[in-house]
């Protein structure tokens, strides 16, 4: 067990070194990058990405995917602000947003875990459904919120740090604990390793799928509420395409689609990589056209690098065992 964990940390050191190099480079090259104000904002955006990505990490650890994450963000932001605009108490409005995420998550879990639909197909469909519901609910309009509490969630600070930073940190610690120290986390890893073996060893796989997708849905909703807070308004387009960034984050962090390998720590580094890259490129003054090309290239390089490191390690292990 211990050596296993050791190798997992070694897996991400390469990426961590990449992030460090990127950080140092941007600090020198990009005017205004290295300063508390900017880094604090980068940290905030990184953590929003990370909160959504941590749910996605659990799903991918199961060997599945959740294409609906971005749409759930839009839906949660619309539901919360819409409830607020009806004069409903902020607590219930926030719960409403989270509930919307939970319901879509439950639907995902049911389709995948109970009905055994292909996970990609099922969540690809719920992606459309959630986006559609958001559009119908807001009638194609942007919903403004006059709530100072929502604004505080998105932009307020406690002891000099953004509320989002505190809240995400707590969430991530819980998620880290859940995925590494609990029975549930163990079940996720074992199902991802081999579903059949897990089932034979008495794990109720359907329940694990349901719970994991609900967690992913709720965390995506949290991300959507953060976005709504940052803008103090709800917008049905806010999560368009966000699921791709989230999936890229998880993969860059070293959790492959096969499942059973990787974890949240890697995803955190993946999120750091993408957030620093995006902020840095923009600060360097690259036009969106160049940013498209460079971000795509960086994602590919990060993944190719990760793959080749892993391949080499595998080959090394094989030699050691004498295969």
């Amino acid at each position: 067990m211990k050596s296993n964990k050791y190798s997992r940390y070694r897996e991400i050191t390469g990426l961590l070194a990449g992030v460090a190099v990127l950080f140092v480079f941007m600090s020198f090259a990009a005017e205004g990058f290295f300063g508390w104000y900017n880094l604090h904002n980068v940290l905030k955006d990184l953590l929003i990405l990370m909160v959504v990505a941590s749910g996605m990490t659990l799903v991918i650890l199961l060997g599945k995917i959740d294409m609906s994450a971005g749409s759930v963000m839009s839906l949660a932001s619309i539901v919360t602000t819409l409830l607020l605009s009806y004069g409903i108490n902020i607590v219930f409005a926030l719960l409403g947003g989270l509930l919307a995420g939970a319901i879509i998550g439950l639907l995902n879990g049911y389709l995948v875990g109970v009905l055994n639909l292909n996970h990609f197909v099922a969540t690809f469909a719920t992606m459309s459904i959630a986006k559609g519901l958001a559009l119908v609910a807001c009638n194609g309009d942007i919903i403004s919120s006059d709530s100072d509490v929502l604004l505080f969630i998105g932009t307020g600070k406690i002891f000099g740090l953004f509320f989002i930073v505190w809240f995400s940190a707590i969430l991530l610690i819980i998620m880290f604990f859940l995925s590494t120290k609990t029975k549930f986390g163990y079940k996720i890893y074992s199902i991802g390793g081999s579903e059949q073996v897990a089932r034979l060893s008495g794990i109720k796989t359907a329940n694990v799928y349901l719970v994991t997708y609900v967690i992913a849905g709720v965390l995506a909703a949290v991300g959507g509420i953060f976005m709504a807070g940052k803008a103090n308004s709800g917008n049905a387009t806010i999560g368009d395409g966000y699921e791709f960034s989230v999936i890229a984050t998880v993969l860059i962090g070293g959790t492959p689609f096969e499942g059973g390998k990787g974890g949240l720590l890697g995803t955190l580094i993946g999120a750091m990589f993408l957030a620093i890259l995006k902020n840095g490129l923009s600060m360097l003054g690259f036009t969106p056209a160049w940013q498209y090309a460079l971000i795509g290239l960086a994602i590919l390089i990060a993944i190719v690098g990760d793959v080749s490191i892993n391949e080499r390690r595998k080959a090394e292990e094989k030699r050691r065992v004498g295969l």
């Binding site: 959630a130 986006k131 689609f257 590919l300």
Partner: protein, 314 residues
């Protein structure tokens, strides 16, 4: 009863298609013209790039870079076509499509990157490249010799239909009758086993992504000829549409199953459904939700069909 259920499940896609058609025809004043629009113009475009996606899905992957390949190859070719170098332009377009597909294939086989992330990363790179190349320009007003490819018709049937059918026929032949086609299916079904049986799976995958790239360029080129304008944002929704059509058609994401024939039905269902919503005057806001529901329902029906088949065998 058993017979009826069996029949309904076996032909559910055709039944669904006919039902959609019946609804849309009953509310329009000119149903013939409507069906003609769908079959002769809208479906062929979608079909050609959806075939590319289907082939990638059969190998157990997918191709999210279809749209940007279409944009990049047509924009590059448009520089030649506008100077009346039509044949060289078309050849260049298809070659670029093949080249970009080759890059996808090499990333997947040699660099061992998962197809999802490989083609997604490539999508960003290629889209960025085409934005940089065009720098905000558009190329338009091509000669009629070029436009006739997509605008013209023969015996009252649009050229688009002939092109789509020709591509379909070639793909059907290659993927059902040749060794290469069998290798593609076996690679998709189980890559390790097929490697052990001597199939050069890397080559198979690379060639499939090249074909996918060429098909993306072809449909891009037809769009450019039809709409008389080459621009950098062409095909932003190709990838997701093609994926939806492939899935509705019943090609499984596990790989090794399905085929371009299924996708023809998938595209027709998708195109006719969107048309049906439009002619029924359903608000645009509902379209996403309905679209998602249809994907779920068709996936559930596909599963029911398979379960039923297993049940009959028992």
């Amino acid at each position: 009863m058993k017979r009826i259920v069996g029949f309904a499940l076996n032909y559910y896609k055709i039944i669904l298609l006919l039902a959609i058609l019946a609804v849309s025809s009953s509310v329009t004043q000119d149903p013939l013209q409507n069906i003609k629009n769908m079959i002769m113009i809208q479906a062929p475009f979608v079909m050609i790039y959806s075939f590319g996606m289907t082939l990638a899905v059969i190998t157990g992957g997918l191709d999210l870079s279809l749209g940007s390949i279409a944009a990049f190859s047509t924009c590059a070719a448009a520089f030649l076509i506008i100077k009346d170098q039509i044949f060289i332009g078309i050849a260049a377009c298809l070659l670029i499509g093949a080249g970009l597909g080759l890059l996808n294939g090499l990333l997947i086989t040699k660099a061992k990157v998962n197809p999802f992330i490989a083609t997604y990363g490539m999508d960003w790179v290629i889209r960025g490249a085409v934005y940089i190349m065009m720098g905000g320009a558009m190329i338009y007003h091509f000669s009629s010799d070029f436009k006739i490819i997509a605008d013209g018709s023969f015996l009252g049937i649009s050229n688009l239909v002939y092109i789509a059918l020709a591509i379909l026929a070639i793909l059907m032949f290659v993927f059902q009758k040749t060794v290469f086609g069998r290798n593609v299916y076996s690679t998709g079904a189980n890559i390790k086993v097929s490697r052990l049986t001597g199939v050069n799976t890397d080559l198979v995958i690379v060639v499939v992504y090249m074909i996918s790239g060429v098909l993306a360029s072809t449909s891009g080129l037809l769009y450019v000829a039809r709409l008389d304008c080459a621009e950098a944002f062409l095909g932003k929704n190709f990838g997701l549409q093609a994926l939806a059509a492939t899935l509705i058609g019943g090609t499984s994401l596990q790989g090794g199953k399905g085929g371009v024939g299924n996708t023809v039905i998938g595209v027709l269902i998708m195109v006719f459904l969107m048309n049906c919503l439009n002619v029924l005057k359903v608000s645009t806001l509902w379209q996403d939700a309905v679209f998602g529901l249809v994907i779920v329902v068709s996936a559930l029906l596909e599963m029911a069909k398979q379960r039923y088949a297993n049940y009959l065998q028992l």
